[in-house]
């Protein structure tokens, strides 16, 4: 009895320690963003929304935010068909060079982001698309695609290969069987992967830094630029916006596939 009790106390202590250390930065930033004062500090000095207001009125902020959305959406939209098909093909079908293709698709992950950034900058410059926004989305898709493939692969691995046979047996030709049985069955993986891709693209800094200029600057780069000048509480406000977007993504994930499935990574 007493053993169980003390075990419970220890466990809860560890849990609370983790919760506090993990959420402390977030709490501090959220607090700091509502300050009425001139500098970032915690606890905040009074309460106001002035820094959010300032942020909104800032010339660069709104366009940068919109560009970031645009880039992230492009990245996600490309990754859905590419990542899904690649994952299904490499997990399910045995063909020549299957292993090599699997390794190749995961390659971007092993290359330092600086290297990817520089090489894409050179390449995009070479084919004269540097300076537009959509190549940035594509680049972010390329470097993060392994996450999409992993996520879908987990679903494909959990898929009973007999399901497609069952669909054929029910009279579904291959394309129909794919659309009505295979695809819905791997949907949790696709949704999880898409959320991941969106968040990663939304946060991606290093590669974006190489591929954007003053006309196409995205939010992470914009933040970096303002840190170089002066640190004011509007940065904390930007961080809060990031936190809110991440929370929305997790909430959507929970609504769409259920958090349990995501945590079990099925």
């Amino acid at each position: 009895m007493r053993g169980a009790r003390s075990k419970k106390i220890v466990l809860w202590s560890i849990i609370w320690f983790n919760i506090i250390t993990l959420s402390l930065p977030t709490v501090i930033v959220i607090g700091a963003s509502f300050t009425a004062g001139e500098i970032i500090q915690f606890p905040p000095e009074g309460f106001s929304l002035r820094w959010y207001q300032k942020l909104w009125q800032l010339d660069d902020f709104q366009p940068a935010l919109m560009r970031t959305f645009y880039v992230s959406i492009i990245c996600t939209l490309i990754s859905i068909p590419v990542g899904t098909l690649a994952a299904i093909a490499t997990v399910r079908y045995r063909f020549r060079f299957r292993k090599s293709i699997q390794v190749y698709l995961l390659l971007p992950f092993t290359i330092p982001l600086v290297v990817s950034g520089i090489s894409m900058m050179i390449f995009f410059g070479e084919i004269r698309i540097l300076g537009s926004l959509w190549p940035v989305g594509m680049a972010l898709c390329i470097i993060n695609l392994p996450f999409m493939i992993w996520s879908v692969s987990a679903s494909v691995n959990a898929l009973d290969p007999e399901l497609e046979n069952a669909a054929y047996n029910c009279g579904a030709p291959p394309v129909q069987a794919f659309l009505t049985v295979t695809l819905p069955a791997v949907m949790p993986g696709v949704i999880t992967g898409s959320m991941l891709m969106f968040i990663l693209a939304f946060n991606e800094f290093l590669v974006s830094l190489f591929l954007t200029d003053s006309r196409t600057v995205t939010l992470p780069v914009q933040i970096y630029n303002s840190i170089r000048s002066i640190i004011t509480p509007d940065l904390a406000a930007v961080s809060v916006i990031y936190i809110v977007i991440a929370l929305i993504a997790v909430w959507l994930l929970d609504r769409l596939v259920g958090l349990e499935i995501f945590l079990r990574s099925k």
Partner: protein
């Protein structure tokens, strides 16, 4: 009667190992055939070839007299219950049953009533809205059965459809299934490990071993006239021992086994003197006797153990004289007479017509 399925010299090998070896089967319209055999003998592989998921390495398969090798599975009118069920996890029971109707372009207005009818048929009317993971193993199996039946296929393939059910429900479903099958008149091939299921449900049984069909025939025929040692041993509770033919008569042979002489039936096979034979005797044909004179054969043995099975007692008797063979026998009515304890010495008796003698496979 018209031929529905014809399997002719069909073989299938995977990387050089023969899973199915020159199988021949003919199935008439409306017939119920059960394939029984031990695990890994090629039953599923045979079904998958008929369904079109595997291509035979040799031989031909005809359905309705047409060669089917070039017809893809989705153009064959075959309903199948898969060994692992393969229900669509993202569809409810009703949607699973409706799926083949949609894919086969049934009148949309007709679909709900058909779905309802078949869910009722498998007694799952109240579970239409449940997803597979919300159903028990037995309920899932019944959804799979409804899905396979809903579009009135020409041919129904069942890969151990009742294996996840408990004994009582399984026996109920066996009779129920037989009723449904006869009502719908659908030609059916069923696969099972369960010899009782095969005997109860089928018009015909085929016993398979190591990719080869050992024998096929009606349940009565398979039980009463097994053609070889494997079939005799696989169906029924059977004891086996070896012997040598020492005299032949009309349908009866004398077999010397250990140091006793026994009368056995040769099943119309010619068994010359000195042939090595495998003898087989069913547990229900052996009696523990006081007076051996009414039986053609009798031996003494020691009871090794007795197992109480409720409706019967199963004795295992060690018979030194038969080369140390162990004979199993049933006592269905232990209350009305003596029960024998372990280690008791008893006399066993049985008749010549119940002792099978099969030519032993040549060992070379």
């Amino acid at each position: 009667m018209s031929r529905m399925v014809e399997v002719k010299d069909v073989s299938k090998s995977f990387d050089g190992t023969l899973a199915v070896n020159a199988v021949n089967l003919v199935l008439n319209r409306g017939e119920f055939l059960t394939i029984v055999g031990p695990s890994g003998c090629g039953k599923t592989t045979l079904l998958r070839m008929i369904a079109g998921f595997e291509v035979p390495s040799a031989g031909e398969i005809r359905i309705n007299n047409d060669r089917v090798e070039s017809i893809p599975p989705y153009r064959r009118s075959i309903g199948m219950v898969f060994q692992k069920l393969a229900l669509f996890p993202h569809m409810t029971a009703a949607q699973n049953v409706a799926y083949p109707l949609k894919m086969r372009r049934f009148e949309p207005a007709q679909i709900p009533s058909l779905v309802d009818k078949y869910l009722q048929l498998v007694q799952l009317g109240d579970y239409a809205g449940r997803y597979p993971h919300e159903l028990s193993g037995g309920q899932q199996q019944r959804v799979a059965i409804a899905r396979a039946l809903s579009f009135s296929p020409d041919l129904l393939l069942l890969d151990e459809p009742l294996s996840a059910l408990d004994k009582k429900l399984r026996e109920e479903m066996q009779l129920e299934f037989r009723r449904i099958q006869q009502e719908l008149g659908v030609t059916t091939i069923n696969v099972t490990h369960d010899q009782r299921e095969a005997l109860v449900m089928s018009d015909r049984i085929a016993v398979m071993n190591e990719g080869v069909v050992q024998q096929d025939g009606t349940p009565v025929d398979m039980y009463r006239n097994p053609e070889n040692r494997f079939v005799a041993n696989f169906i029924g509770m059977t004891s086996l021992f070896e012997g040598t033919v020492c005299a032949t008569g009309d349908g009866v042979v004398s077999v010397k086994s250990g140091n006793v002489l026994l009368q056995a039936r040769s099943n119309d096979k010619v068994l010359p003197v000195n042939t090595r034979v495998d003898c087989a005797i069913r547990a229900e044909q052996i009696r523990i006797v006081e007076d051996a004179s009414v039986y053609d054969n009798s031996v003494f043995g020691t009871i090794e153990h007795r197992i109480f099975e409720g409706d019967r007692i199963v004795y295992t008797v060690h018979v030194e004289d038969l080369g140390g063979a162990r004979l199993h026998l049933f006592d269905h009515d232990p209350v009305s007479h003596k029960e024998y304890p372990a280690n008791e010495r008893v006399r066993l008796g049985w008749n010549a017509r119940d002792l099978f003698a099969f030519q032993a496979p040549q060992s070379n």
